[in-house]
């Protein structure tokens, strides 16, 4: 019996140019699902619905020398906008030491999910609430008192406040998974330990290309791998989050965040979990009894199990909560934004190594707003090279 001299068609590697010094990789994803119906559960700070989008991304790596590289990623979302999601230089100063410095529009140091930039790296279509869900806080407009903030509960996709910008606009997530910050970052990597620090213009919730907040954010992450397959990480960040254009007298204008993340994989299964605690200093003109702070807490856990070489199943449970404040017109303290729960179940099918079809069912519940429950059915195709 003759051997068939054809294999499945697959690119064996990224596209190479300039004698291999320039490498290009890319990803195209098309996502379609049931309409949001005005609930905006899955809207991003780019005012797009993550469950109904088309994205093409090309990543280029030019490595003129062994210890010097330039990286850039260009994204086209919904065939409308072209953004430079990443553009930075990477240097390894010492040949024998696993120490790297990156400068420019750099990947986030905080947490673990933010660096899963490609759809193919994620088992589900929807994003964790901490990285996507828009709270009502805005960097260019501030509430004068607790009532202004409570009035915007559950309206993060388009909030408005009396201090600062007079226009309505989208609020901030705890951490933005869609924009990367600009600054300098250093990393030390060993087989069991990874330590990274970064100084950037924006904050984890509002990454910036230019500095509009008169201060730098410092962020760091420490991750250990005690045994193969288990990664435990801890992150912290602090930086000014309020735009200079907002007239505030207070000097307290920082976003402070702490996070913990864990990943364990073995055999055909994988579990990831992450917790984020974020506090924004809010310079209320008339502060509530709880003080000039708004705190948010998020936690999620997701799992993936491969039931055959081509098929996997996955699920995520996700929760986002907020600290309580007391308004002048309210008798009892209320969370300053509407708490949200999200559950997502899905399955993926690998048509070939670099072409994946997925489907998910996402259930959302928001306590304390008019549009409080929605279930979304979504399908996605992801192709990468």
């Amino acid at each position: 019996m003759p051997v068939r001299a054809v294999a499945q068609w697959l690119p064996s590697g990224p596209v190479r140019l300039l004698d291999g010094r320039l490498r290009l990789g890319g990803e195209i994803s098309a996502t379609a699902g049931t309409p949001a119906d005005g609930t905006f559960f899955n809207y991003t700070d780019y005012e797009r619905n993550t469950l109904r989008t088309f994205r093409a991304a090309v990543t280029g790596l030019w490595q003129p020398a062994e210890r010097l590289a330039f990286l850039a990623e260009v994204r086209i979302d919904d065939a409308q906008s072209v953004t430079a999601a990443a553009a930075y230089i990477r240097v390894r100063p010492w040949r024998g030491r696993p120490f790297d410095v990156q400068a420019g529009r750099i990947p986030p140091v905080f947490g673990a999910f933010g660096r899963r930039a490609y759809q193919a790296d994620r088992p589900l279509i929807g994003y964790p609430l901490a990285y996507q869900y828009l709270t009502s806080l805005r960097s260019d407009a501030l509430p004068a008192g607790a009532d202004d903030l409570l009035r915007m509960r559950g309206r993060g996709w388009l909030s408005s406040f009396p201090v600062g910008s007079p226009y309505a606009g989208p609020g901030l997530p705890l951490i933005s998974a869609f924009k990367w910050d600009t600054g300098v970052q250093a990393r030390w990597l060993t087989p069991r330990l990874e330590a990274a620090v970064a100084a950037t213009n924006g904050t984890i919730s509002n990454p910036r290309l230019g500095d509009d907040n008169s201060g730098k954010q410092l962020a760091g992450r420490l991750a250990v791998t005690p045994v193969t397959g288990l990664v435990l990480g801890a992150s912290a960040s602090r930086g000014n989050w309020i735009a200079r254009t907002v007239p505030v007298a207070s000097t307290a204008r920082a976003q402070t965040a702490f996070g913990g993340d864990a990943e364990y994989s073995r055999g055909y299964g994988m579990i990831r979990a992450e917790m984020v605690w974020s506090r924004w200093d809010v310079p209320f003109v008339s502060p509530p009894p709880e003080g000039r702070q708004a705190i948010a807490r998020a936690a999620w856990i997701e799992g993936r199990y491969r039931i055959s070489p081509r098929i996997y199943i996955a699920g995520r449970a996700d929760r986002l909560g907020f600290s309580s404040i007391t308004g002048a017109s309210a008798a009892i303290p209320l969370p300053w934004d509407a708490p949200v729960r999200r559950y997502e179940l899905g399955a993926g099918y690998s048509v070939q190594r670099n072409l994946i079809l997925r489907g998910t069912l996402q259930f959302n519940q928001r306590n304390g707003s008019r549009l409080d429950r929605r279930t979304f059915l979504t399908a996605q195709a992801v192709w990468w090279f």
């Binding site: 019996m1 294999a7 499945q8 990477r90 390894r92 140091v109």
Partner: protein
């Protein structure tokens, strides 16, 4: 003349009788064996002799030259890394496989269940190309400090070994002829080929591109040179009794 496996097995069985067996039983057993097996031994020996007379074998050897050396496999560029990716070993993509297509009729008489090995070392599959006969079990030991997840979605063999750590090994049996592309789910630059043949008339080239296929029955064949990074090339050749034929290939990207 070498004994056929069946004769050898019978000889060993006879030699295996020990002096502790009673003489009468030994005699009975001997005559029983003679009665039952001599005809088959005779026919086996005769068949072996006849086949060696009728099907004289030859050798096909030569060299596969790659005009453009294949480049090493590199990871997919990722802007999300916090620094330089970990160094990985170079993949030896120079090796090609040369095989007869179609194979001689006598080629399908395979009785053993061979094993082969494909290491995962320095984030590389070693060897990059493995040629085996159908029925071979391939071990995939992980010799790295990180997880690997070997899988294939090829039609000839679809499998997924899951994630397993250093020092552990998992195996897959390949029963269906064809080309199996092997990948690691975690490391995008790790890939390899397993060519599964229904016969044993194939060879993997050495460092210099040389190959040698022995025991080819006299006849006319199509010889195919295959390399994962280049288009396949095939040539016709006629080999005579006991001879040695040279056949060289030049593979280049079109």
């Amino acid at each position: 003349m070498a004994l056929s496996p069946r004769v050898r097995e019978l000889t060993l069985r006879v030699r295996g009788l020990t002096p502790r067996v009673p003489a009468a039983q030994l005699v009975v057993t001997f005559w029983l064996l003679c009665f039952l097996c001599v005809p088959s031994v005779f026919s086996s020996v005769l068949s072996s002799v006849l086949s060696s007379v009728a099907v004289a074998t030859a050798t096909i050897r030569g060299r596969v030259e790659l005009r453009q050396p294949p480049r090493d496999l590199e990871p997919r560029p990722s802007a999300a890394d916090l620094g330089m990716p970990a160094a990985h070993g170079a993949t030896d993509r120079r090796r090609s496989v040369v095989y007869l297509d179609p194979a001689p009729r006598a080629a399908f008489d395979l009785r053993d269940e061979p094993r082969a090995r494909m290491d995962q070392r320095n984030e590389t599959f070693v060897p990059h190309v493995l040629a085996i006969v159908a029925g071979t079990t391939v071990d995939f030991p992980n010799n790295d400090r990180t997880y690997h997840n070997v899988f294939s979605l090829s039609r000839a063999r679809t499998f997924d070994l899951g994630r397993y750590a250093a020092g552990r090994s998992k195996s897959v049996r390949f029963d269906k002829p064809g080309i199996v592309r092997v990948f690691c789910e975690i490391h995008s630059h790790m890939s390899a080929y397993i060519l599964v043949f229904s016969h044993r008339y194939f060879a993997v080239t050495d460092d210099e591109g040389r190959y040698r296929i022995d025991n080819v029955p006299a006849g006319t064949y199509t010889v195919v040179a295959w390399n994962g990074a280049m288009p396949t090339e095939s040539k016709q050749i006629t080999v005579g009794d006991g001879g040695e034929a040279a056949l060289n290939f030049v593979l280049e990207r079109r």
